[in-house]
Amino acid sequence: MSELLPPELLRLLLLAAALATLAMLVTLLAQRTTRRRRERRRAELDAIHRRLVLESTIAEDDELPALLDRVRGLDDASRAHIGRSVFMMLQDVTGEAADRLRQVAAASGLAPRVTAAARHRSAVRRADAAEALGRLAPEGALELLLALAEDRDPEVRTVAVRALGEFEHEAAVARVVRALAEDSGVPSTVAATALLQQGGAASDRVRLALRDPDAGIRRGAARIAGLLQVPGSADELVALLHDDHESVRLAAMRSLERMPVREALEPLVGIALAGGTTGEAAARTIASMPSEWSAPALDALDGAEPGVRRAAGLKRREAAA
């Protein structure tokens, strides 16, 4: 081997290995030092400005302008820090305190930066902007979010749809419902959760969506109709027990657990007797209904497969005997 390999090459390899090791050690140290310095700087700014941010949440109407003026008068680094603190705190509070914090965010200059970032070239920055628009709700946020919900990048669309959950405007509800569609690129749980957050404002649209030609929209609407207690949706949910798509049928069953309807029992028994995971879900729905209704249906499940019987709460045969 050594004949094929001149000692110079070995020396060269050793040198390269040493250099690579050194470079990585330096990187390690540099990473850790800069991170520590950044954290220290943050802690210093926090010590100075935290009190101001907290006080804004309890300020009376007549005290607030003075506080906001103080924020506006600070240097860039301090205002950026305050913007960041407010952004984090807005995760935790609602109501009046949140409104106050949003005004501080505006005074710190965060809002214009976020608005500008909504048109940034990088998809990550646009997604960050969508998140911030939802939390800070500056002027024009709804329009920007509606635009971001049409972004070419699915990740940006997802964050925008989630952020639209903060808005009860009809346009926001309509856009979120559309995000339930199968090819929207937005996870269905995200869109459904946003609709839940919109709450009562979404009721009418959700009821209409139960008849949508798109299976994804039907499924999402069926899943949350019960959670939102959408008035007038019970009959539609019963109809969806016969839907072509299994996932839609399953979603309708989950909602019927919270909105019991007598007419659902007959189709549910049929599904339960067919067995499988869908059958189990049907059995669970039956078992969740008022006992005076469900008793005959449960009797009918006596001959169902054991998994379905378990889901319906029926006893083991040897235990029952």
């Binding site: 907290l54 949440t57 309890i58 935790d92 305190a97 949140a98």
Partner: protein
Amino acid sequence: MSGRILVVDDDRDIRDLVAIKLESAGHEVVTRADGAQALEAGMEGGWDVIVLDVMMPGMSGIDVLRALRDRGVETPVILLTARGQEKDIEAGFAAGADHYVTKPFSPRALLARVTAALG
């Protein structure tokens, strides 16, 4: 009327937001950042209300509450729970909680709860 209130949450932002609101209404507030410290403080007694976060690393708020009630501490407890964690609320009441407030929370509504508990 004003009271001595123990506020427990592992999130510093929430601790501070609750504390400043309650202090602004004239209450005396002491904060703790985890379950073990909270139990210790709770056992010392002298609290009029305890505001307790449910989801904390280590001892959860429910664990703290259960331990306090087991040892005969009957101070009113208001739980802070995450939205949608309905089972936390059920478990909380089973363990002896008096009220709950969901996060994200409105400091004003929390103050109203505390005032009611004091009354």
